[in-house]
Symmetry: C2
Subunit: 256 residues, 2 copies
Amino acid sequence: MEKRFREMKLQSERKLDQSKKGSVDEDITQLVSLLNSCEQYFTTSSCSGRTVLIDGASDSSDIHKQNCVWLFVSHHKVKSDDLVDAVGHSSGDAVMKFEPFVLHVQCRRLEDAQLLHSVAINSGFRNSGLTVSKTGKIITAVRSTHGLEVPLSLEGKLLVPHDYIHFLCQTANQKMEENLRRIHRFQQNLLSALPTEKLNKLQIPAPPLPQGSPETEEEKTSVYKGRRKRERHHQTDCFHGDESEPELDDCLDLFT
Amino acid sequence: MEKRFREMKLQSERKLDQSKKGSVDEDITQLVSLLNSCEQYFTTSSCSGRTVLIDGASDSSDIHKQNCVWLFVSHHKVKSDDLVDAVGHSSGDAVMKFEPFVLHVQCRRLEDAQLLHSVAINSGFRNSGLTVSKTGKIITAVRSTHGLEVPLSLEGKLLVPHDYIHFLCQTANQKMEENLRRIHRFQQNLLSALPTEKLNKLQIPAPPLPQGSPETEEEKTSVYKGRRKRERHHQTDCFHGDESEPELDDCLDLFT
């Protein structure tokens, strides 16, 4: 199993980036490099976060993605004039979305995946989870729900005032700032969590701080948290996204 | 480990529902019962899906949920007049959200979790994942991103016309319909996937069809899919939510 993992990691390192973009997003190049320099991990997909405007065919349902046209995409903060301009090109049902950081990492063993998963959860990516395939392939998916999804036009007709689009862009930009803070936190927490003897072998520069985000003690999320004991019982309070998931408490034990 | 699981399952069955609502959501009572009647599973939290209007304090960030007031919540289709009325009570920054089905299930063994995870993915809940804690507790989280998140007011001032709120309600209701179809598909796929000898012991009524959703062959998602071989390499195309996640292909092997 470990031999197979090493082969797959090597194969992954040799392949060219097959994405349309052709390169790792700027805000996560260090994080991706860090993970790929660890013998127990390699990344399989990533996105630093993005604001998009997608024009769907008016008669298509959500699931028929092939009918969509991408009017706008940015992995950085957006200028509202650009979005107003893009939505002017809509001929269908345009939807603006903010989608946060996503990362998929193949892991050598279950404990490696558990460590990464705990780091992700503690860094605010509360929709993260593992996949263990029948063939033993283990993937950690780092995800959150910290997004926006706002329909803007119907059959090409704009439904909201331009002022609202300006406001949405401000909101998306605030979410991008929070997203970058979480990525930064994730990278720091990962560095704290990786076994020291492995870390010393790597040349790790300090992760860059997001612009305008002083690193206070409050903002740092320590991976060393006390265990929270909670009764386990069926909850019909809806646990969605960023709400705490009591089932994950024990993951924190990895660091106690 | 299995003895500990049985104890926890028994403990879970004895506890009263601790949620504010006090009962399992109507549209998933059968599904929850089905899972809890299986010796290898018990549910720990669930929500059939909901449309909510949340009023946040204008100076609070996303993460400070304790500053939020719930102006509206419905686990069924919504009437736009109700939402217009609710947003009229906003004194802060109101956000309307559609949040789809969420389910957390504790599983006896990893293969039980893998089966449930595959069923979830094949039913359209593509953000599903596993958690394996240090103590060996295994949770399958069933999730998707099929949502809405739309800011509607700023410091109590409505930002959009009432017609737009009516349109949002229609959109949320369409998402609720798709959500119910996926829940139905999940229940059917689960019935197909559970080992026959265990299933015969259970008294399982046929899952109810969502209103207005004829069950065509196209809509049914078979759990018996051919294995898709894809090259494994780093993707910087962003895999978000419902986009296919090539790392999960091997999960389909469970049923081949």
